[in-house]
Symmetry: D2
Subunit: 304 residues, 4 copies
C-alpha cells in the first residue's frame, strides 16, 4: 500500500470539493486561525510517517487530548475508573448538566465534558505535576518533544469556562470530584490548549492501532484489553452528536476537537490525524471527516 500516494489523492479530492464550514468562534485565539489550512498525517504500524498539506503545522488539539489523559489514568485505576464514569453514548449535548442531575453525578462517558473532568480529576490524584506530565507523556508517545500549551488559548478558555466550572462543582456535590476545582480546571484547560502537528498527533495515537504498544515510546502503554476499551469508546462516543454518522461513513475509532482536528486509528494498520479548522454544525471538521471517508473508501475498508 502506498500510503503517501493515498493521502495525497485524498487531500487533492477534498480540496477540489471546496467544502465550507465555520471556524469555532468562542475563543479569539482559535477564531482567527487561517480557515483554509488542511493537513493529513498517517503513521503505519511500523512507524513510517506520511504527510501532506499542513501536516507539520501545530494546531489546538482541544478534546482530542481527552484520549491522552484517559490513557494515563486508565493505567492507574483500571476498571475501577468505570465506577466514576460510564462507557455508554449520550443523547444529550456534550456539555449538558441535566444528564448529570438525572444520573446522580455519573457522566455517561469520558469524552463528554463532565466525564473528561472526572478523568482530569483522577489524573490530579495520581500525578504531582499533571500539566508537565501530560506533556511528557504525549511527547513520549510521539517519540519527540512536540507538545506546547498555548497559554493564550488556555487563559481564554478559563475566562469563558463557567459551564465547565459549573460541571465540576456539580460533580463535587455528588462526591465525584476529589481535588481542588481550580487546580483541576487549570489542568483541563491546559491539556485542551495543547498544540501539536498532525504528524505528532498521529504518532501519539499509534499505540491504539497496535494493541496498546507504542513503537515510539517502545513500551506497552496500555494492555491490549485497555486499548480495545479506548477504541470502543472512541467509536461509540468520539464525535459528539455525530458518532453514529461517523461510524457509518468512516468506521474508524477516532476523536475530534473543536480546533478542527481528528485523530483516528485503523487497528493493526495505521493511525492518522487530519486537521482543517472549519467545522460542521455538529462541531466536527468538515474537511477532516470527508478526508477520512474518502480514505476508507479508497482502502475498501469497512468495519461493516
Amino acid at each position: 500500500m502506498d500510503y503517501q500516494q493515498l493521502i495525497e489523492e485524498v487531500y487533492q479530492e477534498v480540496q477540489e470539493e471546496n467544502l465550507k464550514g465555520k471556524v469555532a468562534d468562542y475563543i479569539p485565539e482559535i477564531a482567527t486561525v487561517d480557515p483554509n489550512q488542511f493537513g493529513i498525517a498517517l503513521v503505519d504500524i511500523k512507524g513510517n510517517v506520511f504527510g501532506v498539506g499542513d501536516h507539520q503545522k501545530p494546531f489546538s488539539i482541544q478534546s482530542i487530548s481527552k484520549v491522552h489523559t484517559l490513557t494515563m489514568v486508565f493505567n492507574f485505576f483500571n476498571s475501577k475508573l468505570w465506577t466514576r464514569v460510564n462507557v455508554e453514548p449520550s443523547g444529550d449535548p456534550f456539555n449538558s448538566i441535566a444528564q448529570l442531575e438525572y444520573e446522580k453525578g455519573i457522566p455517561r462517558n469520558p469524552f463528554i465534558n463532565a466525564g473528561a473532568l472526572v478523568i482530569t480529576d483522577a489524573l490530579c490524584s495520581k500525578f504531582e505535576k499533571p500539566i508537565e506530565q501530560v506533556s511528557a507523556f504525549i511527547n513520549e508517545l510521539a517519540g519527540e518533544t512536540c507538545v506546547m500549551v498555548n497559554n493564550d488559548v488556555k487563559n481564554s478558555e478559563m475566562d469563558h469556562g463557567e459551564r465547565n466550572t459549573a460541571l465540576a462543582y456539580f460533580l463535587k456535590s455528588f462526591k465525584n470530584f476529589n481535588n481542588p476545582i481550580d487546580q483541576v480546571l487549570e489542568v483541563y484547560f491546559s491539556h485542551c490548549a495543547m498544540e501539536m502537528s498532525c504528524v505528532d498527533l498521529a504518532k501519539s495515537f499509534s499505540f491504539l492501532a497496535n494493541d496498546g504498544y507504542s513503537i515510539f515510546a517502545d513500551r506497552q502503554v496500555l494492555t491490549e484489553s485497555q486499548s480495545r476499551r479506548v477504541n470502543a469508546l472512541m467509536l461509540t462516543c468520539g464525535f459528539y452528536d455525530e458518532a453514529g454518522e461517523f461510524a457509518y461513513k468512516v468506521g474508524l475509532p477516532g476523536k475530534s476537537g473543536v480546533g478542527g482536528g481528528v485523530a483516528a486509528v485503523m487497528p493493526h494498520k495505521f493511525s492518522i490525524a487530519v486537521w482543517s479548522p472549519e467545522l460542521n454544525e455538529k462541531g466536527n471538521s468538515v474537511k477532516a471527516i470527508r478526508a477520512l471517508e474518502l480514505l476508507t473508501d479508497k482502502l475498501s475498508f469497512s468495519l461493516f
Copy 2:
C-alpha cells in the same frame, strides 16, 4: 382579638400533638440544635408584639432571608428584575440545575436557589458592603439590632456549597450573573446563616402585612404594588414543593427555611414567625406548619 391568648392556645395544642420530624442534618451546626424548641411571635398591624415558647431565642433563618434580600433589590431594579428571574412556581426541586438548562439560565422564581443567587448577585451590584447592609436593613425593619451572622454555619455551608456554586457558574455561563462568584456566594451563605428570634423575624416581616410600610423603620419600604408582588411570590413559591398544600392548609403568604422557621403575613392584620427545628419530608417545619394551620382555623380565616 386577643392574639396572646390565641398563640398560647395554638402553642399548647401543637405541643400536645407531639408531632415528629427530622432536623436538617447537612450542617453540623444546625443538626445539633435541640429539636424540641418551639416558639411563636405575632406582630399586629399596630406594632404590638405577642410571643410564646422559645420566641426570643435566635435561630438560623436560612431561606427566609431570601425575602429580605429580594426586598432590598426590588427597590432598586423594580420590574427590570423580572427579565433575570421569572415569577412562576417550579415543579422541579429547589436546587435543580436541569431547569436552568432547559430555560436558558432564567430561574423560575426568586426563592428556588438559582433565583435567590440571581437576587444576591443583583444585591452585590448595588451595595458596597452587602453583608453589613443586609444586616442593617433587617435591623431597621425589626426596629432594633437583632441580626447576627453565625460564621460557623456560614462556613459549614460554604464547605458544602458545591451545588450552589455550580448553579452560580451555570448562571454565569448564560450571562445572568455579574459579580465575582466567590463574593456573591459569601454574601448568599452569610444571609442564609443569619440568626434572629421569632419576635424580630415577625417584626421584620411586618411591612408585608402593611402594604409595604414598616412601622418599625417608619418608612415605606416597598410600594404597595411591590409588596403585593412579594406576597404573591411567597404564596405561590414560598414552601418548596409544598406551596400548593400550604396555600390550602394555611392560606397565608409565607416563607420557610430549613432551620425550621416560617415567617408569614396576614395582610392588614399581622405578621407572624414560628420556629421549631424538626422538618417534614418536604423540608418544612412540622410544628410551624401545624401551628399556622390551627391559627388560621381559630381565626376562621381563609383566603378561600
Copy 3:
C-alpha cells in the same frame, strides 16, 4: 356595593384600552369566533346576577370545565384522589408528557392535561352516563338548563387529540388509568366542548364563593374544606404558566380556558365569569385578565 356599575365601568375601560391578542387557532370552530366579543357576569353571594356586554352569549368553556369535573369526583373520592394526582404547581407546559415520565405517572395537579384526564377517568368510574351527568350537574349548579355540548368542537378536538391520547395511554402504562381510553377521551373532549354563557358560568361557580354551598342547587356541593382545596388549586395552578402573575395582578382563585373564558371567585363575596376570545401568549384571555385586574383594583381588594 353597586356591582352592576362596577362591571360596567370595568367593561368600558377595558374596551377603551383596545387590547389585542390572538384567538386560539387549533380548532376551526373556535378559530372563527368573532374576536371582538366581550362579556362579564357577576353573581353575588345572595344570588343576584349582574351582567354587561356579551354576557348571555354561550362560548366554549374548555378547561374551565375541569373545575366542574374535579368537583364531581372530589365528592366521591375525597382525599384518596390525591394518591392519583398531586396538588402542586408545575413548571412544565400544561401538556407535557416528560413530567409524567420523571414522576412515574402521577400528574402534578388536576388542571394540567394529564391531571384532568385522571379526573375524567375517575369520573367514568363513578358515573354511568358521564357526559349527561356532567351536563346535569352544571345545570344544577347554575339553577337552569344551560349547558350544551358543541359536537363540532368536540369532534374537531378528538381529531387533533393525539397528544391527550398519548397522555392517557402513558397514564395507563403507570396503572393510573382504569377505564377504556376511548370512552374517557370522549367524555373529556365533551366536557371541554361545553358551551355556556358568562351568566351561567358565574352561577355554576357560585358555590366556591360560598364555602361549598350552592344557592342555585340549594345544597352543599362540597364541604367547606373541599371547597377551599379547589380554590387553593385554582389560585396556584389555574392559569397555565401564568399562575404566579395572575395571583399577583388579580389575586382571585380562578380557571381559564382557551376559548377565552375565565371564571373566578372572591370568597364570601361573589363569583364572576369574563369572556373574550383573544388570548395572550400564555393562552389566557387578554381582556378577561385585564378586566379582573381592574375590578379587584376598584374594589381595593387584594389577597396581599
Copy 4:
C-alpha cells in the same frame, strides 16, 4: 476455520460458567419458557450452517425483528428515512417518551421503541399486507419457510402495550406518524412476536455480513452502502443501554431482544445467532453476550 468446533467450545465453556440472569417477566408467554435453553447457530459467508445446543428451537425474536423491518423500509425510502428518525445513540431508556418531547417527535434511532414505531409506520405505508409480507421477507432471507407469529405473545403484548401506544400517539401529534395507530401497533407487536430458530435467524442476517447480498434469497437485498448503515446502527444502538459495553467486549454489529436472542454479523465472514432466555439487568441475554465475547476472543477478532 472449523466453525463447528469453535461454537461447540464456546457453548461448552459458557455452560460451565453457570451464568445467571432473569427471564423477562412482563409477558406470561415469555416468562414461562425454560430458562436453561441455550443455542448457537453460525452461517458462514458461503452459506454453510453450523449449530449447537437448542439451535433449532424457535424462540421469540422480539426487537431483533426491527432489523428486518428497517431493511424492508430502507429499500423504499432510502436516505429520506432519516428525516423521520435519527441515526445516533440515545442516552435515555429505550422506551423513553421525554426524549421525543425535547426533540420534537424525531426518535434518536430506529431501534429504540419510538424509532421502531416510525419504521413500522413507514412499512404500513408501502405494504398492503405488512404482517404477511414481513414474514415472507424473512422467509426469503432465510431461504425457507420458518417464521411464525405467536399470537398469544402478540396479544399479551398488545394487552400491555400502553406505553408503545402512547409513543405512537405522541409521534402522531408531531405529524411523524401516518397510518392508523391500531393497525401499525398490530403489525409492530406481530413482528416482535415472531418466532424463529437460531439457524433461521442467522441465515436471515447473512446478507448483512455480505455487503447486502443474500445467498439464500439470491439477490441484493440492500446496497452495500445501506448494508453498512444498518450495521453501523446495530453497532452503536443495537444493545439498549449496553451498546458501548458490547462494542468493547464483542465488537460485532448486532441486535438483541428481550426473548433472549442476539443476532450479529462479522462482515465478510459470518452471521451468528445465539439464544438463551436469562437476561442481565440491561435486558440482554447473559449467555448470548458471553458466548459472543468468547467467540471473538477465540477468533482473535477485534474491531479494535
